[in-house]
């Protein structure tokens, strides 16, 4: 399953909305309920589901879903 598809499922689970459809350009302003506290839920879930760990620097640089996908793919590739 492609990263974006898995990530979409995580978004649906975290924000309790089966209709969420994410795109690389999606930001927190596009998803109801994506505030700083639910962002912690999102990151925690992504890390667990993909078995990865983001650094603080990566978290600060992630501005949209595209940045998240790029970081996930890079980690899964072992870079």
């Amino acid at each position: 399953m492609a990263t974006e598809e898995t990530l979409n499922q995580i978004f649906q689970m975290v924000f309790d909305d089966d209709c969420i459809q994410i795109y690389p350009a999606t930001t927190a302003n596009d998803v109801d309920g994506w505030d700083s506290l639910s962002h912690v839920n999102l990151i925690t879930t992504i890390e667990a589901k993909f078995s990865i760990r983001f650094t603080q620097k990566e978290l600060l640089k992630q501005k949209n879903v595209g940045d998240l996908i790029a970081d996930i793919d890079r980690k899964l590739a072992g870079n």
Binding site: C19, N29, L37, T44
Partner: protein, 534 residues
Amino acid sequence: MPHNIGKICTSVQCARGLSAKTAFRWISAHAERTDYTFGDLDRESNRFANAITSLGVGEGDIFFTFLPKMPEQFFAFLGILKVQAVCGTLFSNFGEDALLDRLGDSGAVGIITRKSLYKKIARIRNQLPALKHIILVDGDDDQASGVISYQRIMAEASTVFEVQPTSPDTPSVLHYTSGSTGKPKGVLHRHASLGSQQPTAQHILGLSEDDIYWCTADQGWVTGTSYGIIGPWSLGVTQIHYGGGYDAQEWMNLLAQEKVTVWYSAPTALRMLMREDETIFTSANLPDLKAIYSVGEPLNPEVIAWSRRVLHHDIFDTWFQTETGAIMITNQPGREVRLGSMGKPFDGIEPAILADDGTPLPDGEQGNLCVKAGWPSMFVTYLNNESAYNSKFKNGCYYTGDTARKDSDGYYWFMGRSDDVINTAGHLISPFEVESALLEVEEIAESGVIGAPDDLLFEKVVAFVQLHGRYQPNKDLEIKIRLHVSNRASSIATPQEIIFCDSIPKNKSGKIMRRVLKARYLGEDPGDTSTLEI
């Protein structure tokens, strides 16, 4: 003299000659800007008043808004008040349990929301028999489910509405707040609350008609209504309302580009800014900014020192509660800021530091922070819970639930809560509500929730969880628990830390001993444990 808040914030401003003046500049999350004049605000709120009147909503009915920050929030709020119905506002991140508690307890007859949020309502609708009208700002009519299109009903409504004479005692705004036990309580205010909200906006926030004012609070909370709608618009002040979330650079751009003169925010947001690259602030050009205020939880001295260094401004901390409806104790320009202090009482407000038996305590001693009853914005009841309301008053004093001390110069200093309520990021969270949500998780047998000190949030929610014997703690379960609380209660109630344990300490009558949990968490002596059931 009119008393109706909806009328005073719109028609009265137009009658003063401000019809063409910008009431608010709406800046969407994607930075599109739209200006609404006081004339627009009057017409659109009139339309909403007519629209809900046509549905049969009238005086005394309770109608909620459940929207993120957006123009329709303001039109609806003021329109509801114009028909002398009660406007309840809901934080848009509330989950189903939180919504059910509030809509169910209040017997709300209607709600305005949008499609993405309506899903939560739809799941509990069959438990809300009184809820007849659901207006969707971005939806079509659906008669079968009683859903009404905002676009259609507003298009059909007249822009003229005659506000009927309104008594100052007419109920106006309803916010739910958390206690340490039981369900959230509906704090009901009345139109006379303007008698506190307007003068505090004028004399503490210093607002005048020349100001450009930005209050970052969500309208789901009392600051968002008292100082994001009522206070400033009753004075004819132009506001900025921004639909985007927290973004340090965006916020600084907004302050600069919109020439904001008065900024009202929250300590948690200010502490988040403090963690950002300082060049964001040192490079910001803010010649128009006159004053920064904060509210929600105590403002630590480091934040004020940071602001003085990088923004060249003091931050004036203000103190009030949902129940007080308006600022009671405050710092303000022209008076020495004592770092970490709540400041001094506003004119006419008479606080006192009392012992549990009601005896006044001498300066310097910590006790119950109380306020002499009778200020205009004092809440009039907890809806359907008069006994809880009465329990907050003794000998003519309102007991706030906060503890504080007063120094010899009359400054007040917040010390903590006298109950188990958790103040996280300026929002009061009931441990009982979180524990109830936790017990809905199949794997959990017992839970106990406390607030623990946190550098960013002031307090964080910490959950002690005992699993049924057949389950083992693991990462997936931890995530499941977090998401469950977030989606059933709200994101702000989500435990920041989950501690799996073998048992939850209770006393002999089965009450969770949160004091013992807190001591255990902080590594302190739990004190008297003679009533502990082992």
